[in-house]
């Protein structure tokens, strides 16, 4: 293969002075003795102090690139060509001791899941101090430095944190600790691989703020990988879009996200529910097909199988690097035809929402008993679902969303006093006591489809079993229904005879949805059904859910922390905090009128791919324990609008500020409309207890 030096990259400066210069990197993983290509001619540069983002579907090679940058590659990785320069030195050619020196002083890495990243057997202090001992400090010096390091990442009480074990800290706190370790010795390069995936949106925002601040302080170059394009836009100067191991577009992050110049970038961006688009406006854009398997020879454009513009040229020639602007290039034969990729047509059908409540929760509370203490996880929740309506439920983890879902399903029985009615008739509180009718009426789709699907069974058997259990349909009639169901889920007949593990995440989620719909339920509870999926797969699932709802007039309780998703799909949104509904209203008013202070903080935490101006309101500290809720307004310990003397004493009533829009706060609309000022102390991370 001929290697073209991409023109767009050449003007980025001398690779010898770059913080990181990956040059024509070709890398393969050996699988059963056969090397399979994963990185194809990857070339990019990060200048000192610059933040570079890498985006693309899971499996496209982002993490491999990140690990290559620190030469932490699995045993079966084979570098087939190219170089990785850090300040002009090729780290692929370093000796082991040079590499250790490089890792301890020049570069470091932070990755997903901070809980796993810390050694469970050692105290935080020992693990952080170790970084300084490597630099030659004595034990006591290192421990003092560790305290300073934690202070630097804005941990309010470093001495206590040093004395804890990892399992005693929250994910957000641990990620700060991991970042503190990464900053030892002021590295020139910081690699962050999905550093906030799996953290709550509010915690994510705090961690990102921290990284931003540290960056301006240390002038470290950053390589950031995130599947959330909003995160990349808000953090990075430049972005590279990767597909099947090749960077297909690179440029200034804002320019690329506002004016993508490659069909794949454009597809990704269109698949995200953004700019306030709603299901009533149009369907989401999807990218049909899948990423090619690793090692597939691609003497063509890598994107050819899924590109709507592909033609014979694309099938036979590797597209050249085409400069499209200042430091912005794209690898495509047909950039001039990009305008032919259009958004899906505007929706013609109106969503038809009934007026009666199919299911109604009246004053439902749920108190757990834990070590002799009452833990009120739900407090007097009133909620109704109209036929064919989607109710979005948002709130931090621990706010009670899952408990609400489980109570609705009858997995938990509510405390006496409250009840749940189905079409006006009271339902039994325990699932086992419910009559067939109300068992069938409510079903569930989980974030992780594996938990709902029997791994040993074929898809056909899973669906048939659910169908015959929940309905009267039996025998051949059931077989026919299973096939109809699969078709409605856009599953091909071939998939029916496969087992869950043979299916991709998106297909498995379709099976889980098919299963949830088997009994023609009145309400489907969806608990973060798309948060583990890539944006293009997420778009297809959201479209499917919207269509099914329209056809079947099913109601959804849709739990998510993705504001874009909930805005797209939900008709009404409820916001929960410490087991209480703090605000509820139609999606339109939630995004146009004033909000409850908690909602205000949640919304401000969302990094948007549209790059709207944002003024983030930090949520001070961690969510209080439900076992010991604050007095008065439960949100007063973290509220930026708190009225001293009132909020900590009196619990506010729900007040209706416009028809159907209710908030639980003492403030008036006028008071809530005043912009807020943020105190410096509000950005410190404190221990929960």
């Amino acid at each position: 293969m001929t290697v073209t030096e991409p023109a767009g990259i050449a003007d980025r400066g001398d690779p010898a002075t770059a913080a990181l210069a990956v040059q024509n990197l070709e890398l393969a993983y050996e699988v059963r003795g056969v090397p399979r290509e994963v990185l194809r001619d990857v070339t990019f540069q990060i200048r000192p102090g610059e933040a570079f983002g890498l985006v693309g579907e899971s499996g496209c090679g982002k993490s491999t690139t990140a690990y290559a940058a620190l030469r932490y590659l699995p045993d079966n990785a084979v570098v087939q060509g190219g170089a990785v320069l850090a300040n002009g030195v090729d780290i692929l050619k370093m000796s082991n001791s040079q590499l250790r020196e490089f890792r301890s002083t020049q570069a470091s890495m932070v990755y997903q899941d901070p809980v796993q990243a810390m050694n469970p057997a050692l105290k935080i202090g020992r693990q952080v101090a170790e970084c300084y001992q490597i630099l030659g400090q004595s034990k006591s010096e290192a421990m003092a430095s560790a305290g300073d390091a934690l202070r630097r990442v804005k941990i309010a009480d470093p001495v206590r944190v040093l004395d804890r074990y990892p399992h005693q800290l929250s994910g957000g706190m641990l990620q700060r600790v991991v970042i503190a370790m990464a900053l030892t010795g002021d590295p020139k390069l910081l690699v962050l691989d999905e550093p906030t995936t799996g953290l709550d949106a509010t915690v994510e925002a705090e961690v990102l703020d921290l990284v931003r601040e540290l960056r301006s302080e240390t002038n470290a170059a950053i390589l950031l990988i995130a599947h959330n394009l909003g995160v990349i836009r808000s953090m990075c100067d430049r972005v590279g879009v990767m597909y099947a191991g090749r960077i297909v577009e690179e440029g200034n992050a804002q320019v690329v996200f506002d004016n993508p110049e490659h069909p794949y970038t454009k597809g990704l961006l269109n698949a995200i529910p953004r700019q306030g688009v709603r299901k009533t406006d149009r369907a989401l854009f999807t990218i049909p097909g899948n990423l090619p398997l690793i090692g597939t020879p691609l003497p063509t454009c890598v994107y050819v199988d899924r590109c709507p513009l592909a033609d014979d040229v694309c099938r036979t020639q590797v597209p050249p690097v085409v400069p499209v602007g200042e430091g912005h290039w794209s690898r495509c034969h047909h950039i001039d035809r990009l305008a032919q990729i259009t958004e899906p047509d505007a929706q013609i059908t109106e969503y038809d929402i009934g007026t009666d409540n199919v299911i109604q929760l009246n004053g439902v509370s749920k108190t757990f008993r834990q070590r002799g203490h009452d833990v009120p996880a739900l407090v007097s929740v009133d909620l109704g679902f109209h036929e064919g309506e989607t109710l979005g439920l948002v709130g931090e983890s621990g706010s009670g969303k899952s408990t609400l879902a489980k109570t609705l399903l009858g997995i938990h029985s509510p405390d006496s006093g409250g009840n749940i009615t189905l079409r006006g008739r009271e339902m039994k509180s325990k699932a086992t006591d419910r009559i067939a009718e109300s068992t069938r009426a409510i079903s569930m789709v989980f974030q992780n489809p594996d938990s709902a699907l029997n791994r040993m069974w074929t898809v056909r058997r899973i669906l048939k079993r659910t169908l015959t259990k929940l309905t009267d349909v039996q025998g051949a009639e059931a077989d026919r229904r299973v096939e109809e169901l699969a078709e409605a889920m856009r599953l091909s007949p071939r998939h029916l005879d496969m087992r869950p593990r043979q299916l991709s995440g998106g297909l498995k989620q379709r099976v889980a949805i098919a299963r949830a719909f088997a009994g023609s339920p009145d309400v489907v509870v969806c608990d973060e059904p798309t948060s583990a999926l890539d944006v293009s797969v997420q778009a297809a699932i959201l479209n499917l859910l919207a269509n099914l709802q329209n056809d079947e007039r099913t109601s959804y309780l849709f739990i998510t922390h993705d504001i874009g998703v909930v805005r797209y799909l939900a008709d009404r949104i409820a916001v929960m905090y410490l087991g209480r509904i703090m605000e509820i209203g139609s999606t339109d008013v939630m995004f146009s009128e004033v909000n409850h202070p908690y909602t205000e903080a949640l919304l401000s935490a969302v990094p948007s791919v549209d790059g709207e101006a944002e003024n983030r309101i930090p949520l001070t500290g961690e969510i209080p324990s439900p076992a010991n809720p604050p007095s008065g307004c439960v949100f007063h310990t973290r509220c930026h609008r708190v009225i001293e003397g009132l909020c900590e004493v009196t619990e506010p009533e729900m007040q209706e500020i416009s028809p159907g829009h209710r908030i639980k706060c003492h403030l008036t609309i006028e008071q809530l409309s005043v912009p807020v000022e943020i105190k410096e102390s509000a950005t410190l991370a404190t221990l929960a207890d």
């Binding site: 890792r103 301890s104 890495m109 050694n119 469970p120 057997a121 399992h167």
Partner: protein, 320 residues
């Protein structure tokens, strides 16, 4: 940590109590007439009744159980039936010491070998070396210890004459001599346990080497040696410790076959003889001794694990 030890100790005592109850019931279930046996086939019926009364064998079960518990606490199990005049405790004491010597010696040989073997196999996963270690382990642990004992005895002891073939250790033997006598049975134990412990160590080490925290340690700039020593072992050896703890109890009481082969007067042989005699006080005391050793070893293992893993301490707290 101190509170954990207390809780764990309390749990162990409960387990031990249950074990003693089971042992008590079992020895009462088998139809037999100890009094008749003691009196001899020609003893008069009066003598038998008298013995029954003296031994308390007609008291209610609960009284008898209470007496047994008292015996355990005071370590006084009375006299043996089969060797009248001998205190049970005096019969058990030398046997316990013998078993302890053999087990300790076998462990000193087995543990370093199998742990190092397991770690090397894990580090060199899927190489020829790894497969060799795993397969040797599999092969050797599939042979019961008394079979490999017979083979060792025949080849090394009898044919080659390198080591004593039976363990009739002279009373005035020095430590070295004693170990020479014990080497063959100890090797038989090494054969069985090397594969088992090496496999468990290998699995634990592979998991720990793949863990994210190991990656973190490498990224700090630590050398492989330090990564393994400071981060991997503490996590990877927990299953090894747990398994070793449970197996020691077995080694004390379960080596009957091996003790027969080498004619070694250990606890296993004592229990077997007491059961066939039958000699109830001796049998009960022997089995209870093994139960206590089992309890102490698992207790020790759990405390060691709790020291290695702070989460293990938490788990007990949550479950109790």
């Amino acid at each position: 940590m101190f509170r954990y030890v207390l809780r764990r100790l309390a749990l162990s005592l409960i387990t031990l109590l249950i074990l003693i109850a089971v042992i008590f019931l079992l020895t009462r279930v088998f139809p037999s007439d100890p009094a008749r046996q003691l009196a001899g086939p020609f003893g008069s019926q009066e003598r038998v009744d008298q013995l029954n009364r003296d031994l308390g064998l007609q008291d209610p079960m609960i009284t008898q159980f209470g007496r047994l518990l008292r015996d355990v606490v005071t370590l006084d199990f009375g006299e043996s039936y089969s060797q009248p005049g001998e205190r049970v405790l005096d019969l058990i004491r030398p046997r316990l010491a013998n078993s302890a010597k053999l087990v300790l010696f076998a462990l000193i040989l087995t543990l370093p070998l199998s742990i190092v073997g397991g770690i090397i196999a894990a580090r060199k996963k899927d190489t020829l070396l790894d497969r060799t270690i795993v397969n040797i382990g599999l092969a050797s642990s599939s042979i019961p210890e008394f079979v490999s004992g017979v083979l060792l005895q025949y080849i090394i002891g009898v044919k080659l004459g390198w080591l004593p073939a039976v363990t009739n250790i002279p009373d005035d033997a020095s430590l070295i001599t004693e170990l020479r006598y014990l080497l063959l049975p100890a090797l038989a134990i090494v054969f069985v346990y090397f594969g088992y412990i090496a496999r468990i160590t290998r699995a634990g080490t592979i998991t720990a080497l793949d863990a994210d925290y190991t990656r973190t340690a490498y990224m700090k700039g630590l050398s492989t040696r330090s990564v393994v020593r400071k981060h991997v072992l503490r996590n990877s050896l927990q299953p090894t410790v747990a398994v070793t703890g449970t197996q020691i109890g077995y080694l004390f009481g379960g080596l009957v076959g091996l003790e027969v082969v080498f004619n070694y007067p250990g606890l296993g042989l004592l229990i077997l003889n007491a059961a066939t005699a039958p000699d109830f006080p001796l049998l009960q005391a022997g089995v209870i001794t093994v139960a206590i050793i089992f309890m102490l070893c698992t207790l020790g293992a759990d405390i060691l694990i709790a020291y290695m893993n702070p989460r293990a301490r938490m788990n007990l707290k949550e479950s109790s």
